[in-house]
């Protein structure tokens, strides 16, 4: 478009017919051309500033961390980041800015693998961090580097039902009853959904001791599922906003959030007698912190999550704190559920993933026609 401006100067040898044509349109011409040119200049400048702004790294006096996390933790890390920022300022005088990125756990892990420069990852399940470790961004022993399997908090899987519990849902067995509609997300695309699936499976396997019966149970349960949203939040919205389903299987913290956001007059939480101990882990992305020179502050950030102050914030956001004192303080909000671990029944996350959720796994099998 640029050379167009140049050619406005009228060529002398042109026949009058062209000149005339030019003249009738002159007003419009000039108006349009100046607009083009200006927008082009702006575009050029913006393009360059865009490239440079993203290429320049933060100065060391002020340090920036990027925490790549999964969907439900937005509120949690908003509070934790504020607390850590003032703690770090007090301790070192350095101002730390923590940027947040949220999304489905698997998608977030993939973004980090593909070059999203996360300093720390805080994801829904160990398998997703394992995948990052497989691409050599994180040391393979990451889960031993921080206390308690690198999980500063735990959670579990509970039910949310409509007020008054009209379908009398008390336990997992009530979910497979005919006519009960269950809302849970798609385990292929949602980390939370995998915990839901394993919780249901584990309940039956512990009760009967048989994987075959567990599989039949899960198959019956998913027969009652009318929608498989791609993420946990999607399922919550389907249940609360669209009025679909009699029961929502959800993270305990999400269940509490539903009550806070949509009112205890509309929904209530049902704690099943048995459920899974969900352990969402955290890790430093070694390659990126070394490149950014942020290892020290990133380590401090993750270790901070284990301190009593941070554990309080965790408890207030309805995650189960690891710190016993804090847990006792908030015990009333965490019903007594017998929790089994993934190691007990399914081995490592890699094994669980392969058996149940990879292509051809049990989840695919229960849907096979």
């Amino acid at each position: 478009m640029a050379p167009v401006t140049v050619s406005i100067s009228e060529p002398a040898f042109f026949l009058p017919v062209f000149n005339q044509y030019e003249e009738t349109n002159k007003g419009n011409h000039i108006m349009n051309f100046t607009r083009f040119t200006r927008s082009q200049v702006t575009a050029g400048l913006l393009l360059f500033s865009g490239f440079f702004a993203s290429a320049v790294q933060a100065a060391p006096a002020n340090v920036t961390l990027l925490n790549v996390s999964y969907d439900p933790t937005r509120e949690l890390y908003q509070a934790e980041n504020a607390a850590f920022t003032s703690y770090w300022k007090q301790k070192t005088g350095q101002t730390v800015t923590i940027n947040q990125s949220h999304g489905g756990s698997g998608k977030q892990a993939r973004a980090v693998i593909d070059g999203l420069e996360a300093d720390v990852v805080t994801l829904a399940l160990a398998y997703d961090i394992d995948a990052i470790a497989d691409s050599k961004l994180i040391a393979t022993n990451w889960q031993q580097r921080l206390p308690q399997n690198s999980t500063p908090y735990t959670s579990t899987i509970v039910f949310v039902v409509r007020k008054g519990n009209p379908k009398h849902i008390r336990s997992w067995d009530d979910l497979v009853k005919p006519g009960t509609s269950v809302i849970t997300p798609n385990p292929k695309t949602s980390g939370g959904a995998r915990w839901n699936y394993l919780a249901a499976w584990g309940y039956k396997q512990k009760q009967t001791g048989s994987a075959t019966q567990a599989k039949a149970f899960v198959k019956a349960l998913y027969k009652n599922v009318p929608v498989l949203d791609t993420g946990a939040r999607g399922s919550t919205l389907t249940f609360t906003q669209r009025g679909l389903g009699d029961v929502l299987i959800a993270w305990e913290n999400e269940a509490h959030l539903v009550i806070r956001e949509f009112g205890a007059d509309k929904f209530e939480i049902v704690a099943p007698p048995v459920s899974i101990l969900a352990e969402p882990p955290v890790a430093i992305v070694d390659r990126n912190v070394d490149r950014h020179g942020t290892r020290k502050v990133a380590e401090a950030y993750l270790n901070y999550l284990y301190t009593p102050q941070a554990q309080e914030i965790i408890a207030r956001n309805s995650y189960r704190p690891r710190n016993i004192t804090v847990f006792r303080k908030y015990a009333s909000s965490f019903p007594n559920i017998r929790l089994f671990t993934i190691r007990e029944l399914f081995g490592t996350w890699r094994q669980a993933q392969k058996t149940h959720f990879s292509d051809g796994g049990t989840f695919d099998q229960i849907y096979a026609p």
Partner: protein
């Protein structure tokens, strides 16, 4: 496509691919074609080639197994059939909209005309959320439909609704200018020769508009096959029943199965591209036949 034509015609034989016919006197072929090919390569061809190369890395039998697994096949079938139904709807309503906008004067016509572009500007996710909310059992439309025990979302019909929305501007915007350009004299001549209104429409108007309509319908069809953002909110995403092909790609990616995702994506891409190639050939052929 690129091989020299076996035709005895001398002119045709000398026409090489992307080489100009020497008889033309206009300047700028080298520059414009060079830039076109360069920009096309940089933005479209090279990135897409990465996808193709990625799929070739996989062992052939694994590739075949991936794209012919029953669940993937079911998702292709669903994506193609819902896109086709939506395209048919759009052929009718897109044509109708273009017809009323061009031929009739009524209050609010200009607003309608401008709103045709809305599906482009509204993010697909917002569209998906809107339709899911509207048609849910507690939504404005869903409440009403619920009385007749009709549920449109979380079923293939929900997918069709979303696809109609994202596709119909293509049809309106291709048919509209052709309809506007149509000389009224042709129809008048037909009338004066004793043709009924319907005959004039079928014999004179429709053949004239058909190529544009075909373009619009095919573009909307091609776009619909690949649509993701709006559909996942309204489809239900149940395996074998309401799981679209782009969602299969997504779920493979979420298991870090890049190769599988690339394989499914490549097949989807080939289907779309052959659609476009057929369409453009038909259209060129039609234009030649018409002139």
């Amino acid at each position: 496509m690129f091989r020299a034509s076996p035709l005895p015609d001398k002119q045709t034989r000398t026409m090489l691919p992307f080489k100009r016919n020497r008889r033309q006197i206009l300047p700028g072929f080298g520059l414009s074609m060079g830039y076109t090919v360069f920009y096309l390569s940089a933005i479209v061809i090279v990135p897409l080639a990465t996808l193709v190369a990625g799929s070739f890395r996989i062992a052939p039998d694994l590739f075949v197994n991936t794209v012919t697994s029953p669940r993937v096949l079911a998702s292709y079938r669903l994506s193609l059939s819902t896109a086709l139904i939506a395209a048919m709807f759009n052929a009718f309503f897109g044509f109708l909209t273009a017809w009323t906008l061009v031929r009739y004067r009524f209050p609010g016509r200009k607003v309608l005309d401008a709103l045709v572009d809305l599906p482009f500007a509204l993010p697909t996710a917002v569209a998906g959320i809107c339709f899911a909310t509207l048609y849910s059992p507690v939504g404005w439309v869903g409440q009403f439909l619920g009385r007749f025990d009709i549920q449109l979302i979380n079923a293939p019909s929900g997918i069709v609704i979303a696809l109609i929305f994202i596709g119909f501007p293509f049809v309106v915007r291709t048919v509209q200018p052709v309809l506007a350009e149509l000389e009224p004299e042709i129809e008048e001549a037909a009338h004066s020769l004793g043709a009924s209104r319907w005959q004039a429409f079928r014999r004179i108007l429709l053949p004239h508009i058909f190529p544009a309509l075909l373009t619009g319908v095919t573009l909307s069809f091609a776009r619909a096959i690949g649509e993701y953002g709006s559909v996942i909110f309204i489809a239900g995403n149940l395996p074998f029943r309401t799981e679209i092909a782009p969602l299969m790609i997504m779920s493979k990616l979420d298991q870090f199965d890049y190769d599988g995702a690339a394989a499914v994506a490549l097949v989807l891409l080939l289907i779309s591209f052959s659609m476009l190639l057929v369409l453009n050939s038909v259209q060129r052929w039609q234009e030649k036949a018409y002139r």
